[in-house]
């Protein structure tokens, strides 16, 4: 069951943009699985979803 759930939710990372500004590093991660394409922002140990698109 865990494997099924894991593969269902597994996201592949497509691209990562690493942004350096004002002594901070921010990561913008583009990823997708079979159903969704997500963009998340990782900053200061926190992760935040920026965009979530359902794939056609």
């Amino acid at each position: 069951m865990a494997n099924v759930k894991s593969s269902y939710y597994a996201y592949d990372i497509l691209n990562v943009a690493e942004v350096h500004t004002d002594n901070q590093t921010i990561y913008v991660v583009y990823m997708q699985n079979e159903k969704y394409a997500k963009t998340v922002r990782v900053w200061d140990g926190d992760i935040e979803e920026i965009q979530n698109l359902k794939r056609g």
């Binding site: 939710y9 996201y11 592949d12 990372i13 497509l14 691209n15 990562v16 943009a17 690493e18 942004v19 350096h20 500004t21 004002d22 901070q24 921010i26 990561y27 913008v28 991660v29 583009y30 990823m31 963009t39 998340v40 922002r41 990782v42 900053w43 140990g45 992760i47 935040e48 979803e49």
Partner: protein
């Protein structure tokens, strides 16, 4: 009348919250629009190409295209990235962008009009990510999803 008042009290705070969130998003340094396609194939933020040269010496000596900001940006760039010599330069309304590729990683370095470093963006594929960053990102993504 009660219904009208209720609707007003619902809509106005909602508008303020949405508007406030938008302002926060704009002022938050973490909110960037990043072109997901770094290979210049579409939506490139660099609309005006001012000089595009693969030789540092030539670019710094080509006074026809350079002003103080240009040369300062170029000097700062070569100080920061001494091993890079095949960068492309673009002029934007806010300053300059130097773009180069190294070990399959595309990097854009932006400078303001006075040639001061503004920020750097590097685009990685999953396989190019340094292992420690890959592990951190994967762990955070798993935490977010579950």
């Amino acid at each position: 009348m009660k219904n009208v008042l209720l609707a007003f009290l619902t809509i106005v705070p909602a508008t303020i919250i949405i508007d406030g969130k938008a302002q926060f998003a704009l002022s938050d340094p973490g909110h960037y629009y990043i072109n997901p396609c770094p290979d210049h194939s579409y939506s490139d933020p660099c609309s005006e190409t001012v000089f595009r040269d693969q030789s540092n010496k030539k670019m710094e000596q080509d006074n026809e295209h350079l002003n103080d900001g240009d040369s300062r940006a170029a000097k700062n760039f070569h100080k920061e990235f001494p091993l890079v010599n095949d960068e492309y330069w673009y002029k934007t309304s806010n300053g300059y962008i130097a773009s180069f590729r190294e070990n399959s990683v595309q990097t854009k370095v932006t400078y303001d009009k006075k040639g001061r470093l503004s920020h750097t963006i590097s685009y990685y594929g999953e396989k190019n990510l340094p292992p420690n960053i890959w592990r951190t990102l994967k762990a955070l993504i798993m935490l977010m999803i579950f």
